[in-house]
């Protein structure tokens, strides 16, 4: 489900109208990505957040009240003072831009409501989608699907076509963008919000490490799937929060899943009978993260066996074994934490080390490069 669709669903039970706030741009190190949403109901309920809380959200709530009062959308730029920037984790003062727009939750044909429904359906089907919002205060929504098809409108067919033509730019950047789109003599500011289906975590082995891993990964937003060949282990009692529990031939179950770049596969059965056949499938896929529970020695034995079977060395290199970040994890919960942290680090292209040390090294590098006076 899209973030906004989830907020609408929660609000609709008690509110008729709401203001939807969308973080569209930031300068400085953003505490949340562009596309983050917050919804303020006419009755005062607040769901979601465009930042990690604090002053910006407070100002957005004030703007929401104004939007609810006059029914007009606003693009709000907020300059952050040093203190605010510090509170938000930014390294220097900057700006945050937020689109705040009215939504009639009772009307299925409200352009925002309709767009969220379509976005949610696309995400549920595993497709990425771009939701386009005008930033000049006019109502309208265009949804650009993965195959190039569009639905909804920004109010002008030529603008719809021009916006759709910029979808490749957004996909290339891999993130949501504010673009100035010229049509005729006019230039339209649009927010093209790239939304991707939730990352999936496939856990092979319904073990004691898998149990906390499911709980933590679900909190972080992963769709969780647990696979085992033993029905006595892959039970709802042991995995109350797993989205899917699958009992069967693990290699068959894995082979039946779409293993794209947004999928992490973690093998915690600690049993080569599952590790070998499952890895054969997983390493032939595009899975973004592959982790194997076990020691260096065990990992080497398994990878050597796969190499003998013809799995190329560059694929074997994708396996994180021993699994997890080096945080001294000992208990199942701690191991799960270190695995999840590594999954996120790999997804974001980070090393998973100390942020403080990295910042110190960057500062030292900048100081060394500064010309001496």
């Amino acid at each position: 489900m899209s973030e906004a669709a989830g907020l609408f669903e929660a609000l609709r039970r008690t509110e008729r109208k709401a203001a939807l706030a969308t973080l569209i741009a930031t300068q400085g190190a953003p505490p949340r990505r562009a596309g983050a949403r917050m919804c303020v109901g006419e009755g005062g309920r607040i769901l979601g957040s465009v930042t990690i809380g604090g002053c910006v959200d407070a100002r957005v709530i004030e703007e929401s009240a104004a939007v609810l009062a006059d029914g007009r959308a606003r693009r709000v730029a907020m300059a952050l003072g040093d203190e605010d920037a510090w509170a938000l984790g930014m390294t220097c003062a900057g700006t945050v831009e937020v689109l705040v727009e009215p939504v009639d939750l009772t009307r299925d044909d409200d352009p925002v409501v309709r767009a969220q429904r379509e976005v949610a359906e696309a995400l549920r089907a595993g497709h990425e989608v771009i939701e386009v919002a005008p930033l000049d205060g006019t109502p309208g929504r265009l949804v650009i699907h993965e195959d190039g098809a569009t639905s909804g409108t920004l109010g002008d067919a030529a603008l719809d076509a021009a916006a759709a033509a910029r979808a490749g730019e957004v996909r290339g950047a891999g993130r949501s963008l504010v673009l100035d789109v010229p049509v005729g003599d006019a230039t339209h500011a649009l927010f093209l919000d790239l939304q991707r289906p939730p990352a999936t975590l496939v856990i092979v082995g319904a073990t004691h490490v898998a149990m906390p891993l499911v709980e933590l990964a679900r909190r972080v937003g992963y769709h969780t799937i647990v696979i085992d060949g033993r029905e006595r282990f892959a039970t709802r009692e042991r995995f109350p929060e797993a989205h899917e529990l699958r009992v069967g031939m693990p290699s068959d179950e894995v082979a039946g899943l779409p293993l794209g770049r947004a999928t992490a596969v973690v093998l915690v059965a600690h049993d080569y009978k599952y590790d070998l056949p499952v890895l054969e499938h997983v390493l032939a896929s595009e899975a973004g993260y592959v982790g194997l529970l076990g020691s260096v020695r065990r990992g080497r034995a398994i990878l050597e066996h796969l190499a003998e079977g013809g799995v190329p060395a560059e694929r074997l290199e994708r396996v994180h074994v021993p699994i997890g970040l080096d945080i001294g994890a000992r208990t199942p919960e701690e191991i799960a934490l270190s695995v999840l942290a590594q999954m996120v680090a790999v997804r974001e292209g980070r090393g998973g080390g100390s942020l403080r040390e990295r910042k110190r090294e960057e500062a030292a590098t900048r100081a060394a490069e500064r010309p001496s006076e």
Binding site: G229, R230, R232, M249, Y272, K273, R297, A301, H305
Partner: protein, 132 residues
């Protein structure tokens, strides 16, 4: 941890290079079985030519002993009459594997044979006159 097993070179050889492993397209008989405690899973698929097994393949997520037993078993039954296959015994499979297994591992070697016999029994029932 080594993936080698101490029960004779033939088991290791069949585990490393299993014969007849993988799906069998067009199989008339397909049966899966598992050991609920250790999690070994084996599927046996058969292609029949009248009362003879024309082809047999297996898929397994199982330990080395179980994989080797399934591998050597498919070699034994390919081209064999159903009647002979129905009476195949565990000692015959172990003899083909040249293995002397401790009793604790006999269940591992027995699983493919159990699945095979279950498959044939169900096939026989389905093929019996009057079967629905």
């Amino acid at each position: 941890v080594s993936l080698s097993v101490p029960y004779g070179p033939k088991i290791l050889e069949h585990f490393r290079k299993p014969r007849n492993r993988g799906a069998l397209p067009g199989a008339q008989v397909s049966q899966e079985g598992h050991n609920p405690l250790c999690g070994d899973r084996v599927r046996i698929e058969l292609l029949l030519d009248g009362d003879v097994i024309a082809d047999a393949r297996f898929t397994a997520n199982a330990c080395a002993v179980c994989v080797a037993a399934a591998s050597v078993m498919t070699e034994l039954i390919r081209g064999a009459p159903l009647e002979d296959v129905a009476s195949l015994t565990l000692p015959e499979v172990l003899a083909a594997l040249e293995a002397d297994l401790p009793s604790a591992r006999l269940a591992c070697a027995r699983l493919p044979l159990t699945v095979l016999h279950t498959a044939l029994t169900l096939h026989e029932r389905r093929a019996a006159p009057g079967a629905g």
